[in-house]
């Protein structure tokens, strides 16, 4: 079973805030799902290649044709200033 600190660490990595009650619920839910997933350890995967993708495609390119900038892209931003996306400072 995951402990509280582990769940808190994952929530930091995932950038999601939880209250005490939700951390406890998450701890219970994640632990039961992880127990189920343990099942995979029954299979011998020695020497098996991993599949990231079911198609064997490599280096798919298309022409990079510039198109006119669409105003609607910016209109979806929560906050803009002129032609810029605005946020709180990073540093």
């Amino acid at each position: 079973m995951l402990n509280k600190e582990e769940v808190e660490k994952i929530s930091q990595l995932a950038r999601i805030e939880f209250n005490e009650k939700d951390i406890e619920l998450m701890r219970k839910d994640l632990s039961s799902i992880l127990d189920y997933i343990e099942k995979l350890k029954e299979i011998d995967v020695e020497g098996v290649e991993p599949t990231t993708h079911s198609l064997d495609l490599k280096n798919i390119f298309r022409k990079d044709n510039p198109k006119e900038f669409k105003k609607d892209l910016l209109e979806n931003c929560p906050q803009i200033e002129g032609r810029h996306v605005k946020t709180k400072p990073v540093f």
């Binding site: 995951l2 582990e6 769940v7 994952i10 929530s11 990595l13 995932a14 950038r15 999601i16 805030e17 939880f18 998450m26 839910d29 994640l30 039961s32 799902i33 992880l34 189920y36 997933i37 343990e38 099942k39 995979l40 350890k41 029954e42 299979i43 995967v45 098996v48 290649e49 991993p50 599949t51 990231t52 993708h53 079911s54 198609l55 495609l57 798919i60 298309r62 669409k70 609607d72 892209l73 209109e75 979806n76 931003c77 929560p78 906050q79 996306v85 946020t87 709180k88 400072p89 990073v90």
Partner: protein, 466 residues
């Protein structure tokens, strides 16, 4: 005549005989949506004026020139597929105010065929869920089974077709999200081969698994829609050129042994057995096939999918689009926005995926799951050396009641037990309604090798007549 109950072919015949025009068809559906959809909740937005306008255009064009193959056919689109200029929420509060800046590849193709769009269909948030109860807006009801969930995540697309609120719809299937609700609502649902249909403009959930496909009233309609949307799209680097395949004169069908084992409800087993017996009488070659690793599909899926979800949904941080919560600094803005606007199940999966990808657990979970993925795909390859199609129930149980599984996430995940393997292997699969059990819809699933959709349709049409 009730136009809303007709198939694509029947509407086309009506057009040809001038029994009605495209405007009549669009109006019938819009009227029905106003009357019935309050109860069902299939639509998140309805294009009342635009649909009539587009239908009129079709009627005008019909006099002058040849039209596309879906001219005047009214459809609904799952709300994680973008239609330019229309709101696109993916069923999430975080995208409540998002307006799609461009068309999805599949929408472009349907437009080219002069299809009429009735609106955008409700879904479990970000296509995450198996019951339609996780929509960020309101839950969807099953028109064919009172008190029962419609399945998910393409709950709106399935309920809309089943409730005659559109003639066909497009959904997306990551682990069963087209086939499982199709089975619960008694309609046909097709998960296409990975790469066969463009995903440009589909809001990503798990990119190595997501695929767009049709939900329709019968196999013939599903085939017509598939033909309209398939093919390479330069805007989706995973989409590929079409492959020609041969259709056998006599089909060899494999019954999957493991799909009748643990976790499968007795009623489903009985109903499925009866269908197999009927097929046996029809001079169809049937043999039992074992997919020994299929039972690991779900565990494998819940690692790969959540890992990809955690990475794909990292973009909902309140910076470039969607909702933003107010906080003192940028970091807290991320934390608050994601806390306030993402749903419970979405958070659960982001957390699980983040854990599986985090330092120290990557090899044990993610890398192992990718290797198991190879093993499961090989299982199918071996099976298809012996048979043309595999057959199994679409779902392990009949449609369940609202609230029945929402408290226990693992029991909800089990609903995808039999649909997940096709996504892991990247192969096509179709759910076709079987005879009802206790008055409830029940789906039979057929699975084919990659790019063999044509065989699913060919056999599906034979199966529908039996």
């Amino acid at each position: 005549m009730d136009i809303t109950g007709l198939t694509i072919k029947e509407i086309q015949n009506g057009f040809a005989k001038k029994e009605f025009c495209a405007k009549d068809v669009a109006e019938s559906f819009l009227k029905r949506i106003v009357k019935e959809d309050k109860e069902i909740g299939a639509y998140l937005s309805v294009f009342s004026d635009k649909a009539i306008e587009d239908a009129k255009k079709v009627d005008d064009l019909r006099e002058k020139k040849s039209l596309g193959m879906l001219a005047g056919i009214p459809c609904g689109i799952k709300d994680n597929i973008m239609i330019s200029g229309q709101r696109c929420t993916a069923g999430s509060k975080v995208l409540d105010n998002y307006i799609a800046p461009y068309n999805a590849g599949v929408v472009d193709r349907l437009e080219k065929e002069n299809c009429v769009f009735l609106g955008k269909l409700n879904l479990d948030e970000f296509a995450i869920g198996s019951s339609g109860e996780y929509s960020g807006f309101f839950p969807i009801k099953n028109p064919k089974a009172k008190g029962c969930v419609p399945g998910g995540s393409s709950a709106g697309p399935a309920a809309a077709v089943a409730g005659n609120l559109c003639t066909f719809s497009l959904g997306s299937d990551t682990g069963g999200s087209i086939r499982q609700p199709a089975a619960f609502c008694g309609v046909v649902g097709l998960k296409t081969t990975y790469g066969r249909v463009s995903r440009h403009g589909l809001i990503a959930m798990a990119s190595s698994l997501d695929q767009i496909g049709p939900l329709a009233k019968n196999v013939e309609d599903a085939e017509i829609v598939f033909d309209a949307i398939k093919g390479k799209d330069n805007m989706d680097s995973t989409s590929c050129e079409d492959v020609e395949i041969k259709t056998p004169k006599k089909f060899k069908i494999g019954i999957v042994k493991e799909a009748m084992g643990e976790g499968i409800d007795g009623k489903i087993k009985e109903g499925f057995d009866n269908v197999v017996k009927k097929l046996g009488k029809e001079n169809i070659e049937i043999q039992e096939i074992s997919l020994p690793y299929m039972e690991y599909g779900l565990a494998c899926y819940y690692i790969i999918m959540t890992a990809e979800v955690s990475s794909n949904l990292a973009r909902y941080d309140g910076v470039r689009y969607g909702k933003r919560s107010t906080a003192d600094n940028l970091l807290d803005t991320y934390f608050k926005t994601r806390k306030d606007f993402l749903g419970k199940e979405v958070k659960r999966r982001i957390m699980l995926g983040t854990y599986c990808l985090s330092a120290g657990y990557y090899d044990a979970y993610y890398l192992r799951a990718l290797k198991v993925r190879t093993v499961i795909a090989n299982d199918f390859k071996k099976a298809f050396e012996k048979v043309d199609l595999l057959m199994m129930p679409t779902t392990p149980t009949l449609p369940f009641k609202f609230g029945e599984r929402i408290a226990d996430p693992l029991s909800m995940y089990m609903a995808d037990l039999l649909t997940v393997p096709a996504n892991i292997a990247g192969i096509p699969a179709i759910s076709i309604p079987g005879p009802e059990i206790d008055g409830l819809p029940f789906g039979i699933q057929f699975v084919a090798p990659a790019f063999h959709e044509k065989n699913l349709f060919a056999f599906g049409k034979i199966f529908e007549k039996i």
